[in-house]
């Protein structure tokens, strides 16, 4: 058999279509993925590692291992953090393979997501319904009455959508700089809308034109994590919605959603994490006299491993005007995994424990954990109620630390 390099393609090229044997056999068993895998670190179980999972999937696909509930178990244990991908010398497209296998398992009823997950999945497909269903939650949140361990504090708009808010600000301020299309997301828009509003303000303040395409929907990350169907439908929906607008870039303020969106928008403007984009543009720094607050920055897995961005740009973090540093183990997974903290709460808590314990002795008053992904923020928020951290701390999106507030002036090219 000739090596498959003859046509210059690697397994990476082949993964768009059905999973085939060659993709599964691209793993060279070197084991480099073990030390970066959160579940291997937790359990020390070879099967609970990328190499182990690939081996089980490959042996099953080749008929050497019958279907087994333990294969199903180990498949469900994966956080989906993708830390294994940059560690892999053979460039095995683990994330893609996991997505296929998860879906196959749901179809074959080897994986049975609970009713809450299914409900969330079907709501995610219907953004308007999702927004409506969570209206009471937005009200409660606004009044600080929503006490759920994952729901961090904030004041979302209840009735005004980000799309209409953006239109209003665009008309008021008329920025003239680069144009971006903004993914408002499903959970972000329906529950954490204040982050979207802050994003719009920061973009426009920095002279960036913002358009929120109508007809956009969930990026599909939820379906990728859970294996529920309709990923292609959602991707197509967004592809169409975003294609309608000629822009310089598509931006997302959720690293996980941004990663998923790259699978929809494969030709056309680049899909960028909004902070990474702002780092390139250069942004107006906030002025603040606050020298007491300390910010600990955590890096979402899907930003650094998925989107393969180095991190949140230093100039963006400096622009917050606050004293910041990277949290210890900032590049390790927090255990959120999108839906993992709901589906595998014990694992998720244990993974978070390693990351969060530093907060007990961290310097600063107040202290803020800042990141660029709302599901990571949810996970960090739960550290207090999980008993991992016993002092108060705030959880913020970095964009909120850059927020000029309702009153601001656009930074034009000839005035800084």
């Amino acid at each position: 058999m000739k090596p498959s390099s003859d046509d210059g393609r690697t397994p990476n090229d082949k993964c768009e279509s059905l999973l085939d044997d060659d993709v599964l056999s691209s793993c060279v068993h070197c084991g480099f993925c073990l030390e970066v895998c959160p579940t291997y670190q937790l359990t020390g179980d070879e099967n609970n590692s990328p190499r182990g999972r690939l081996r089980l999937w490959r042996q099953e696909a080749e008929g050497r291992l019958p279907q087994d509930e333990w294969t199903d178990f180990y498949t469900s244990e994966c956080v989906g953090c993708l830390a294994c991908e940059p560690a892999c010398p053979a460039n095995v497209p683990y994330g893609e393979i996991l997505e296929h296998i998860r879906h196959e398992h749901v179809v074959a009823k080897r994986s049975r997501p609970g009713w809450l997950i299914r409900l969330a999945g079907s709501l995610a497909r219907r953004p308007a319904l999702f927004n409506f269903a969570l209206l009471p939650a937005r009200i409660l949140r606004r009044w600080g009455l929503l006490r759920q361990r994952f729901v961090f504090s904030g004041t979302p708009a209840v009735l005004v959508s980000t799309a209409s808010y953006a239109r209003k600000l665009m008309e008021l301020h008329r920025p003239t700089g680069p144009k971006v299309a903004f993914l408002t997301g499903c959970l972000m828009e329906s529950l954490f809308r204040e982050i979207n509003f802050a994003t719009v303000r920061v973009l426009i303040e920095n002279n960036i034109q913002v358009v929120v395409p109508t007809g956009q929907g969930c990026c599909g990350a939820f379906q990728e994590h859970t294996g529920l169907g309709d990923v292609q439908e959602l991707r197509e929906q967004n592809r169409v919605a975003f294609k309608a607008h000629p822009v310089d870039a598509v931006v997302s303020n959720s690293s996980g959603c941004g990663l998923s969106l790259t699978k929809s928008i494969t030709d056309g403007p680049p899909v960028r994490d909004v902070l990474d984009f702002l780092g390139d543009i250069g942004i107006r720094p906030r002025e603040t006299a606050d020298n007491k607050t300390r910010v600990y920055v955590d890096l979402p897995c899907h930003l650094i491993h998925g989107q393969k961005v180095d991190g949140i740009p230093n100039n963006v973090l400096d622009a917050t005007g606050l004293q910041w540093e990277l949290a210890p183990n900032a590049r390790d997974c927090c255990g959120s995994g999108g839906t993992y903290n709901i589906q595998k709460p014990e694992n998720s808590r244990e993974i978070l424990a390693g990351k969060a314990s530093f907060l007990n002795d961290a310097a600063g008053e107040p202290i803020v954990v800042a990141t660029s992904n709302h599901v990571c923020m949810m996970q960090w928020n739960s550290a207090r109620s999980s008993g991992l951290v016993d002092r108060p701390f705030n959880v913020r999106h970095v964009i909120q630390l850059l927020d000029p507030g309702e009153q601001f002036e656009v930074r034009r090219p000839n005035n800084h």
Partner: protein
């Protein structure tokens, strides 16, 4: 095999860890780094800690199935797999770095500590543990010790066996023994059993923890990359680099097929596709290394390269290494399976072996790419194939067999760093037969006679059977003269010489000097090599080059039955079979006697100078500490603490062999060092280096204890002392008027031993005197020695 019963038994023993028995759980453990062969275990145990691991082994007899230890499962030789079924014990939970002792230059680690994790924890101390197999991000120290792992940088720094000070081993009967310790000696044993443990591939014992030697990190590193249009030019570069005073830490060669593979991929770095690529690296103190950069670049150019690039900047250096580092993973992307061989050959045989690989691969219609650790002759041919295609695996195995035949014929060895495992055990008959094979198999007979520990590894004869009959376990094959005995030779390219054990310094120098080679371990120019080995396992040059057993690599040995067989190799890097060679070298006069030695010569790059720093003991202690923490240590042949019985002088004596062009840099460092330490410096140029004579007593302790022990004994008990500080060794001498046969003399030695023995044994150190018998073995050790004695004496 009743798996239900097995699970029941294991569940009783492993209460805090995990027991895995479902088919899918076992399927994940059925391979190591060699993916194309599967061996499914009957159960997997993940002990929660050392205590549970020990309990599994305490119950091994009742379990009555093979026990296979597994670290990270990155072995490339089919090592940590259940070749005969049984229980795989996964050490993933034992990953604590227990102690780092920067003063003593050692650390204590559990067996499951990943190599890179150790490095991260050592960094703040300015120390490192040099062996660097490329699986460093994941491989465990346990696996490293079991396989005697090497790595790209082992050309100068050495392999795992050069750094293991002590091993805590759990035998198949559940007994736990500490062989050595922080002091790196024997501990309270007559023999140096840790020598057999390192490289034993999980077949003798499970390991729970190790004591490892540490050295200071290099201050400055320069990496060079060059390409060559043909092998002859590349070899010219390699040979010149090997002889150069910069003593590169690594010399890597990639063949044109490997280069083409990289350049045809998205990882391409812009190398000419038909070229051989050399990657080399030098390191050390900044001033010294910077002074060498131009001459190394010149070597590479003069050999015939017109694209020599080099850098000392971290990111640039990573880029230079990139082509070499991506090669392994790339093979995975191009081919469903690949098999990598690990032969070590005399460097002069490289062209021939490469051609053989090409011819064989081309004839079989398979791709083969070659990577060569050029410094120590370690060749890695990689064969790309698809195990699903009928016949391809067999083709590759046949090619490997023919390759190994030729490797052994040219004087090489089967494995330099990957180990034999289950994958190369078929080739062992090429290397071991007759007495040699029988004595190799004696080693597992000592500790695990029914081969319960990792059966079918290393030797195919090692098959586990429930009925254990010790007497029948060892094959008695034809007792004939060993045709593989060494004949006298000098290989000036590898710096290896075989000569009589009765040879003296003059015999060595006669042959070595014309090639600018030397053997810097001479204690007494009039004594034979054998006498020196009997006197001490060390010399002052051990500070730089390690103990004698790292500088004598093979020997012809006369058994008590009169036959002469060979132990060891004529190449410097081997993990083929049990290290009986080093074991016997440490044992000295027991189990037979040496006839010839194969010694490793070192470059003679110029003049040898001896520099004395004089001052009081406290200042010398401080100065020694500072010097030992500096990477200058790697460039001084010796740094000794010298004191006379009458305390008339105490000094640090530094020996260095360096070329004229570097003398200014060296002298400048020594002068400013002397000034900063408030010591007097005096220099003797062009000497033969220290030759203190054969010591009357040798104590092995930790580096930070050397000066105290030497000073104490010297002042209170009237001895002259040479403290080989970095090696943790003190040599003691009575003055020349001593009557060596007198009872008073023996008594004076015993007095020193009595005073220090208990403390030494506690830290895994030991004592040795050529005038006295060794310690009496304990009951346990006596049994082991008995097995050896019987087999060695067998007619």
């Amino acid at each position: 095999m009743n798996s239900g019963l097995l699970k029941q038994q294991l569940d009783k023993v492993v209460t805090r860890g995990r027991v895995l028995t479902s088919p899918a759980q076992l399927a994940g453990y059925n391979a190591d780094g060699l993916g194309y062969k599967s061996f499914t275990p009957d159960a997997v145990v993940i002990p929660a800690d050392a205590e549970e691991l020990i309990r599994v082994l305490q119950n091994a007899k009742q379990l009555d199935v093979p026990v296979c230890m597994r670290g990270a499962g990155t072995s490339l030789s089919g090592g940590p797999v259940a070749a005969q079924g049984g229980v795989v014990v996964h050490t993933s939970a034992l990953r604590k770095v227990r102690t780092i002792d920067p003063e003593g230059f050692w650390c204590e680690v559990e067996c499951g500590v990943p190599l890179n994790q150790l490095d991260v924890e050592l960094k703040p101390y300015g120390l490192f543990y040099p062996p660097d197999p490329s699986s460093g991000p994941v491989c465990t120290l346990g696996g490293n010790v079991a396989m005697n792992a090497g790595g790209a940088h082992c050309f100068r720094y050495g392999v795992t066996s050069n750094y293991v000070l002590g091993v805590e081993a759990v035998l198949a009967d559940g007994s736990v023994h500490r062989f050595g310790g922080p002091a790196g000696g024997r501990g309270p044993w007559r023999e140096d059993w840790k020598r057999l443990m390192v490289g034993s591939e999980g077949t003798l014992a499970a390991f729970t923890r190790f004591w490892l030697r540490l050295i200071p990190r290099p201050e400055k590193v320069w990496t060079f990359r060059a390409t060559y249009g043909d092998l002859v030019s590349a070899e010219r570069a390699i040979h010149a680099l090997v002889a150069h005073e910069s003593f590169p830490v690594a010399i890597e060669l990639m063949d044109p097929r490997c280069v083409a593979m990289v350049e045809n991929s998205p990882m391409a770095v812009g190398l000419p596709k038909d070229s051989f690529m050399i990657l080399t690296e030098i390191d050390g103190p900044t001033e010294l290394v910077n002074a060498r950069v131009d001459s190394v670049a010149a070597i590479l150019r003069q050999a015939g390269s017109d694209d020599v690039v080099f850098s000392d900047e971290e990111q640039q250096r990573e880029k230079l290494w990139k082509a070499r580092k991506v090669a392994g993973g790339l093979m995975g992307q191009l081919s469903p399976d690949f098999l990598v061989q690990d032969a070590v050959i005399p460097k002069r045989a490289l062209a021939e072996l490469l051609q053989l690989v090409y011819d064989e691969a081309d004839a079989a219609g398979l791709s083969a790419v070659n990577v060569f650790h050029a410094g120590d002759g370690n060749l890695h041919p990689n064969f790309l194939f698809d195990s699903r295609e009928p016949g391809e695996l067999e083709k590759v195995e046949q090619i490997s067999k023919r390759l190994m035949h030729r490797v052994v014929e040219v004087g090489g060895t089967l494995s330099g760093e990957h180990g034999i495992g289950n994958d190369k055990s078929d080739y062992m008959p090429l290397v071991f037969s007759g007495d040699a094979l029988r004595l190799q198999l004696t080693v597992p007979a000592i500790f695990s006679p029914n081969h319960q520990m990792n059966p079918l590894k290393v030797f195919n004869q090692r098959r586990f059977s429930s009925a254990s009959e010790i007497a029948n376990r060892i094959e008695t094959s034809d007792a004939k003269t060993d045709s593989r005995c060494f004949v006298p030779f000098l290989d000036e390219i590898d710096g290896i010489m075989a000569l009589s054990a009765e040879a003296t310094a003059a015999d060595i120098a006669d042959q070595a000097k014309p090639h600018d080679l030397r053997f810097p371990f001479i204690l007494d120019p009039k004594a034979s090599l054998r006498q020196q080995v009997e006197a001490s396992g060390y010399a002052p040059a051990s500070s730089r080059f390690g103990p004698l057993c790292d500088n004598i690599v093979g020997m012809n040995w006369k058994l008590p039955n009169g036959r002469v067989i060979r132990f060891g190799e004529r190449v410097v890097k081997t993990t083929t079979g049990y290290d009986l060679f080093r074991f016997l070298l440490s044992s000295r006069k027991r189990f037979g006697s040496p006839v010839d030695y194969v010694i490793r010569l070192r470059n003679d790059v110029g003049m040898t100078s001896v520099c004395d720093l004089s001052g009081d003991v406290d200042r010398l202690k401080r100065a020694a500490k500072e010097l030992l923490n500096s990477c200058w240590m790697h460039w001084f042949d010796a740094v000794d603490f010298v004191t006379q019985a009458d305390c008339s002088q105490t000094q640090l004596r530094i020996s260095i062999n360096c070329p004229a062009i570097e003398w200014n840099v060296v002298e400048s460092f020594l002068s400013s060092f002397a000034t900063s330490q408030d010591l007097e410096l005096s220099i003797r140029r062009d000497t033969l280096g220290p030759m203190d004579g054969c010591p009357d007593l040798v104590l092995k302790t930790t580096a930070d204890e050397v000066i105290s022990v030497a000073n104490d004994v010297s002042t209170r008990q009237d001895w002259n002392c040479i403290g080989i500080i970095a090696a943790g060794v003190v040599h003691f001498y009575k003055n020349e008027n001593t009557d060596y046969d007198s009872a008073a003399f023996s008594e004076s030695i015993r007095k020193v031993i009595q005073h220090h023995e208990v403390a030494l044994h506690q830290i895994g150190g030991d004592w040795h005197s050529r005038h006295l018998d060794s310690i009496e073995p304990s009951e346990v050790e006596a049994k082991w020695i008995d097995v050896l004695n019987k087999e060695f004496a067998k007619p």
